[in-house]
Symmetry: C2
Subunit: 168 residues, 2 copies
């Protein structure tokens, strides 16, 4: 990308932030009206939903339609802090550190789902593989590229042998 | 994970947030002291770095060491808002929407890198594939699982044919 001076802070004025604040760029509408019954991973969901990108950000969608999948970064707005730093994931009956599981109950309740793009019409992105509560605030969307994002051989620790079949 | 009542807001009091604020859970130290020369993707970097998880969050690392890779979600703290909604990515000389590229210059400057875990010692995670500026604030860490996160066949729009070889 272009690095434009006015878009970068003065490195001499750089200060480690105590708090970092964002504004939602959109909202996702899904069939999941409560926390019960939401698929635990997007890869295990065939459910469809629609992301509404707020009008002021629509120009940011240019050429996204050529991609089949996106990383959808969102805010688990139902989570009340503080959360325990260890809890039981769905798949095993033993406490794990929050950074070793994907629970929404995280110190920073940030969600990450890989969603398939079905259609983009103006500021509405129709998506598949939804595992997100209805009316969840969206923080960012990035294009997914298997060439970058597929790690061929991974070790998955406690998850090994616990993963159920993916739907897509 | 367990859903504990006290950790969930009352759904009747649920209100769409205007602003969402987080506190860094840690900081990453890397050899990249300026924005010039940072690899454009973690998959194109063999560079090593260390993530310092702040002491109050160390319990959250339990059992992460069994995983080979993490999603590292961080804050591009050098970005000064507002940013243009379209800009030229490194690989082509044509403006694309910010949501169709991975520029740090995003309405919400949230970064996402897939890093290989080399070692975890107390609150220090040694990582590889670093494409992040030194002393960048870390927002979240999630375990990467190819079983969840590898999408076999993807369309990558404007990126097609533009991707250089990955280092790992």
């Amino acid at each position: 990308m272009e690095i434009i001076k006015r878009e970068i802070i003065d490195i001499n004025k750089r200060k480690f932030p105590e708090e970092i604040c964002f504004k939602p760029i959109g909202v996702i509408y899904t069939p999941f009206k409560s926390l019960k019954g939401i698929p635990i991973q997007s890869s295990m969901s065939a459910t469809k939903g629609t992301i509404e990108i707020f009008p002021e950000y629509v120009a940011g969608l240019k050429d996204l339609s050529g991609f089949s999948h996106i990383y959808c970064i969102f805010f688990f707005d139902m989570v009340k802090l503080p959360v325990p730093l260890q809890s039981k994931p769905f798949l095993v009956n033993e406490k794990k550190g929050v950074f070793a599981i994907r629970t929404p109950f995280r110190p920073n309740p940030i969600g990450l789902s890989i969603l398939e793009i079905l259609d983009i019409n103006q500021n509405i992105i129709s998506v598949k593989n939804v595992d997100i509560l209805d009316q969840t605030p969206i923080l960012d969307i990035k294009p997914y590229a298997s060439q970058y994002d597929n790690i061929k051989s991974t070790k998955i620790g406690w998850l090994k042998g616990k993963i159920k079949k993916r739907v897509s």
